[in-house]
């Protein structure tokens, strides 16, 4: 296994593209190194992207935030302005693993690991996050909901790297939240995860909404019907019930040791309501 740590994205993309065997990007390594050590993966090349400044910084851009793909959960939590604008995204990232894992785990890694249960992904989908991707043919943008296609399968071409994510400018009276169901209080994988982002007008009517779901299908989902159920309402009980029904309708889960199809589908609706209420409370105060 070869290790490279280039200091530009172009050099990293070139290395990945030129490798004929399996080549992997190393950010925090909390998934990649586990898979290498348990012989699930045996890459010929590992490209560490942490010496590339864009992957390791949080910057304000166009009124929003550009977050490097390898910025750690611990660093997200310490960024007061980001936490104020996008508390749901930061909370979702901070649910991943232990304090030790938080010292390394990143948004880019959580997405590119390709698990449908990744906690930060539904929150990023709800936030409308857009990934900036650099590859051998230059740079392109892709919405987060369009990146993971199926377990371990991404819409990235050979040599492409997610460099950063742009979280858009926050309008006044906006709030986001993420909740997941796990059978214990800490350190587990989501049975269902739900991210909601809302914007209200001056009268408290919802003018924009996005709802993301995780662990209920082969890929994390953007549930547009749930958003439609909330937009134009005061996010009252009837609207929440409709949004919950839309979330349940969008579920295509599997039965596994974490939960049955019926349980996951039901919980998706419950979490959608609870998450929306937290986002609503935050939007009212923002």
């Amino acid at each position: 296994m070869r290790y490279e740590s280039p200091d530009t994205l172009e050099a990293a993309a070139k290395l990945l593209a030129a490798e004929s065997g399996d080549a992997r990007v190393l950010a925090g390594g909390t998934d990649l190194l586990v898979q290498i050590r348990s012989d699930i993966l045996s890459p010929a090349l590992v490209v560490d992207i942490k010496r590339i400044s864009e992957t390791r910084s949080i910057k304000e851009e166009a009124g929003g935030f550009r977050i490097g793909a390898a910025v750690t959960g611990a660093e997200l939590k310490e960024h007061a302005a980001l936490k104020k604008a996008w508390p749901g995204v930061v909370e979702a990232a901070n649910l991943i693993g232990s304090t030790q894992v938080q010292g390394r785990a990143s948004l880019g890694g959580n997405l590119c690991n390709g698990s449908p249960a990744a906690d930060s992904v539904p929150a990023m989908i709800a936030a409308g996050a857009v990934a900036s991707i650099v590859g051998p043919n230059g740079r392109r943008d892709l919405k987060v909901e369009d990146i993971m296609l199926a377990p371990r399968k991404l819409a990235l071409q050979k040599g492409e790297i997610i460099a950063s994510f742009l979280l858009p400018k926050r309008e006044p009276h906006s709030g986001d939240a993420y909740l997941r169901f796990i059978p214990r209080t800490e350190m587990d994988i989501a049975v269902v995860g739900c991210g909601v982002s809302l914007t209200l007008d001056g009268s408290g009517t919802c003018t924009a909404a996005r709802v993301g779901l995780g662990a209920v299908a082969a890929r994390p989902l953007l549930v547009e019907d749930a958003a439609k159920a909330l937009i134009g309402t005061k996010v009252d009980d009837a609207a929440l019930e409709k949004a919950a029904a839309a979330c349940r309708a969008a579920c295509k889960p599997i039965d596994d040791k974490r939960g049955t199809i019926e349980f996951r589908t039901d919980v998706a609706g419950v979490l959608a309501k609870r998450t929306a209420l937290i986002a609503l409370e935050r939007a009212r105060k923002a």
Partner: protein, 157 residues
């Protein structure tokens, strides 16, 4: 090809040669003879290999040895100053907050990181912070009490 790594461990500049596959934990134990950090699970679940990497608490089993190049690593071996134990180490002895001792270096490194960040944690904060340090002997209560007592003593000092 071996990597030539230069890094700072517990304040001393050190060098080692390692393969890409070797973790920082392997390098600390096998190349530098620092066997305080333990391998429990090898998958980042148990925290027995906890060290500080550039001031961040990490599992050294989930860091490649080569990644430590040019960085600052702090391990349990740097915690006592000569014969003088760190207050956490002293309180762990007083409270009998260990039995077999395998998890103890990781717990101490993690608890020290917490108290440096938050000198006055609640019991809940201590329990969440240490959720990634598994102990199969103590049932955790003595560990939590030792950390809370240390925090109180250090605030008074």
């Amino acid at each position: 090809m071996k990597h030539h790594v230069t890094t700072t461990v517990n304040g001393d500049e050190v060098e080692y040669l390692c393969d890409t596959e070797q973790t920082l934990l392997d390098c600390l134990r096998d190349e530098l003879g620092l066997t305080g950090a333990k391998e429990g699970c090898g998958s980042g679940d148990c925290g027995a290999c906890s060290v500080m990497l550039d001031g961040r608490l990490v599992c050294s089993c989930l860091v490649l040895g080569v990644e430590a190049n040019g960085k600052k690593v702090d391990t349990i071996e740097g915690m006592a100053k000569g014969e003088k134990l760190h207050p956490l180490q002293r309180k762990f002895l007083e409270h009998a907050a260990l039995q077999c001792g395998i998890c103890t270096p990781g717990v101490l490194v993690a608890a020290k990181a917490l108290l440096e960040k938050n000198p006055n944690p609640t019991e809940t904060e201590v329990r969440y912070w240490l959720a990634g340090n598994l102990c199969r002997c103590t049932g955790y209560d003595k560990i939590i009490r030792a950390v809370m007592d240390t925090a109180a003593e250090m605030r008074g000092a």
